[in-house]
């Protein structure tokens, strides 16, 4: 994104040090949130390895997350741009609010889907959207470009999460690097589940009790695989991907950076 904006602005293929810093900071914020999330979910593995909390205990894991966050904040301050600081601190707030959204659940079916999308934005897409925006702010003064960068990042983020939710049902543990059906086991109702619920209303009760009764998670998984939950989520995904492609084309008509941004979102 940085390169695309730089090319667009002044034909420079060079990525500034401050833009590189944004990439680092985004990764740090992401890592800090993962470390904390693993303690919250009592996870034993992440990306095919043991989690921090399993090896060193919960106390150190929480402190480690805090430390990474503070390092990211110091790096952010050193860039010396107050707009960029505001953009990225928004991410931190969104990440926390996303976790809180996950704690609550909605009665109403239509509300539930909106709730799910909002949670997905806050937990996943906000980081990518805002990092792209920050990189563009450093590369180019045009607010229209900043907005495009933001929308691009947001769509990529949501698409990524939807795929992740689909794969939780359709894939197996080896491929994923983390246990599957993890979301159900945590009591979370993701895209495919919410769509499946439209065909199998008996899932409503399970959703409300967070799949806590014995056998709930397995039964829910069966329902999803029988229904068109996965297909509907996929459809939603393609819709987003299209939106994304259009916006990235518009922003990069002047530059050769276009090819960098259009990458296959869907593995099949």
């Amino acid at each position: 994104m940085a390169r695309a904006c730089n090319i667009h602005h002044n034909n420079s293929r060079y990525v500034q040090a401050s833009q590189r810093a944004i990439a680092l900071i985004a990764e740090m914020i992401h890592t800090a949130s993962l470390v904390h999330d693993d303690v919250i979910d009592d996870a034993s593995s992440r990306r095919g390895k043991h989690t921090v909390n399993k090896i060193w205990g919960e106390k150190k894991a929480v402190l480690a997350g805090d430390l990474i966050l503070s390092a990211a904040s110091i790096a952010l301050a050193r860039i010396g741009n107050t707009t960029v600081i505001s953009i990225l601190t928004q991410v931190i707030e969104d990440l926390v609010r996303g976790e809180f959204l996950q704690l609550g659940s909605k009665e109403n079916e239509t509300e539930r889907f909106a709730h799910y999308l909002e949670k997905t934005f806050k937990k996943t897409a906000s980081l990518i959207a805002n990092s792209c925006k920050a990189a563009s702010v450093l590369g180019c003064p045009d607010p229209a470009v900043h907005e495009i960068a933001y929308q691009y990042g947001k769509n990529v983020g949501i698409a990524f999460q939807l795929i992740d939710d689909i794969l939780d049902f359709t894939s197996c543990s080896d491929q994923m690097g983390k246990p599957t059906s993890a979301d159900l086991k945590l009591g979370l109702a993701t895209g495919p589940v919410l769509f499946a619920c439209q065909q199998f209303p008996e899932m409503n009760a399970m959703i409300m009790r967070w799949f806590s009764s014995p056998g709930d998670a397995d039964r829910a998984r069966q329902y999803v695989l029988q229904s068109d939950g996965v297909q509907q989520t996929t459809f939603h995904l393609l819709f987003i991907q299209q939106d994304d492609y259009i916006s990235s084309r518009v922003s990069n008509k002047k530059s050769g950076g276009k090819e960098l941004l259009v990458f296959p979102l869907f593995p099949s």
Partner: protein
């Protein structure tokens, strides 16, 4: 709505928290700024209430946006579910609620006072647009709030428990997991608000200062944790200089850097910033030592009162005696594997640890007063001096 009113949403009687353990000792000593009031509560309270009048309003800081948020109500509701369990978060919450009757947010108060004591920088006109109430800029008030948010966030994070160290007396695993979850989320929520507040200040130097203070604080808490009771070693072999470094990280850095940041916001020069830093640092150190000394100087203490074996007087005592003799004393105070704190306390009082800790406390107190001398005389400066005097007072 003030913090006190909001915290009163938490149930008044949050229940007993079970036997005191390592993390609870630390938490109690960190949140209880009332430590030194046991001898002269009236005097301490008076010092603080005078100070509060000088800065314009009682010290209830959390920003309105944070207070009225759904998340905080959510947190309050979740913490209520912890009543009856033994998760340390309950103790932390109880401490915050009960202390709200007295001096809840001393750090913030000090930041406000030093802002007022320094006043505006007459040489620099760029701050003229900022609004000022009771001699303090609104950005400085915001900073005071942020300092408290960071402090409270780490206080809450200190209360996380290691699940694999739990014993049957701690209660169901489920409760502890839930407590951990809420503790992490609440702490993260407070930190997120602090970060947002920092962003709004639009000053990258201040952001860097406070972020590095957070990093120091996290490291300090890490050292605190690693010196808590392990299986074979009850106390670490640290000398007083290491103790000072670690205590600066866990107690001094936040206040010191915050005071410095307050000066930066008013565009004061490097010298003034340094004096503010020194005040914050030495005042915090002196306060910590005072708090460590309480179990040894109170006249009437119950026999079951425990104390931290890595506190100042004990570390000094060990340094005078040498490690081997100290280990021997600990063994002599142990009965069937349990430490007899009352006996060990007498042993320590008989040595030189307590008196030299008192000296150290006064040393830091005096350094703090020295730093204050470079500020012009004012009510605010006097209030800061009085706080130091109160902290150095042992009789």
């Amino acid at each position: 709505m003030s913090l006190r009113q909001l915290l009163s949403r938490l149930p008044r009687c949050l229940g007993a928290s079970g036997p005191l353990r390592g993390p609870l000792d630390t938490i109690s000593s960190v949140i209880s700024w009332r430590g030194q009031s046991s001898r002269s509560p009236a005097q301490w309270n008076q010092v603080v209430s005078e100070a509060e009048k000088i800065v314009g309003y009682p010290t209830s800081f959390m920003s309105l946006r944070c207070l009225l948020s759904d998340e905080l109500s959510n947190i309050a509701m979740q913490v209520r579910k912890l009543v009856g369990t033994q998760h340390p978060l309950l103790t932390t919450a109880r401490g915050l609620v009960h202390d709200s009757q007295n001096n809840l947010q001393l750090r913030g108060l000090v930041v406000l006072l030093i802002s007022k004591a320094a006043g505006p920088n007459s040489m620099n006109a760029s701050c003229q647009n900022y609004d000022m109430v009771s001699g303090i800029y609104s950005c400085q008030r915001s900073l005071a709030e942020i300092t408290e948010l960071i402090h409270t966030a780490l206080l809450v994070h200190r209360g996380i428990v290691n699940l694999n160290e739990l014993q049957s007396s701690d209660g169901p695993l489920k409760d502890m997991q839930f407590g951990n979850k809420i503790a992490i989320l609440s702490g993260d929520f407070l930190l997120a608000n602090a970060c947002n507040g920092l962003a709004l200040l639009q000053n990258t130097k201040v952001v860097e200062l406070l972020a590095s203070a957070l990093m120091d604080l996290v490291q300090g808490v890490y050292y605190e944790n690693s010196t808590l009771a392990k299986e074979n070693r009850i106390t670490d072999d640290i000398g007083i200089s290491t103790w000072k470094e670690q205590t600066f990280l866990s107690h001094g850095a936040l206040l010191a850097k915050s005071c410095q940041a307050a000066m930066e916001l008013a565009k004061h020069d490097a010298e003034v910033q340094d004096m503010a830093f020194q005040y914050g640092k030495h005042m915090a150190m002196s306060h910590k030592i005072n708090s460590d000394l309480q179990p040894f100087i109170k006249e009437k203490t119950s026999d079951s009162l425990t104390f931290n074996l890595n506190s100042a007087p004990v570390v000094l005592h060990q340094e005078f005696l040498g490690r081997d003799l100290w280990i021997k004393q600990i063994r002599e105070a142990q009965e069937k594997g349990r430490l007899d704190y009352a006996k060990l306390r007498e042993t320590i009082k008989a040595g030189k640890g307590v008196t030299s800790a008192i000296d150290l406390c006064c040393y830091h107190g005096n350094k703090a007063l020295e730093a204050l001398e470079s500020f012009p005389p004012s009510e605010a400066r006097t209030a800061l001096e009085n706080i130091v005097f109160a902290v150095m007072r042992f009789s």
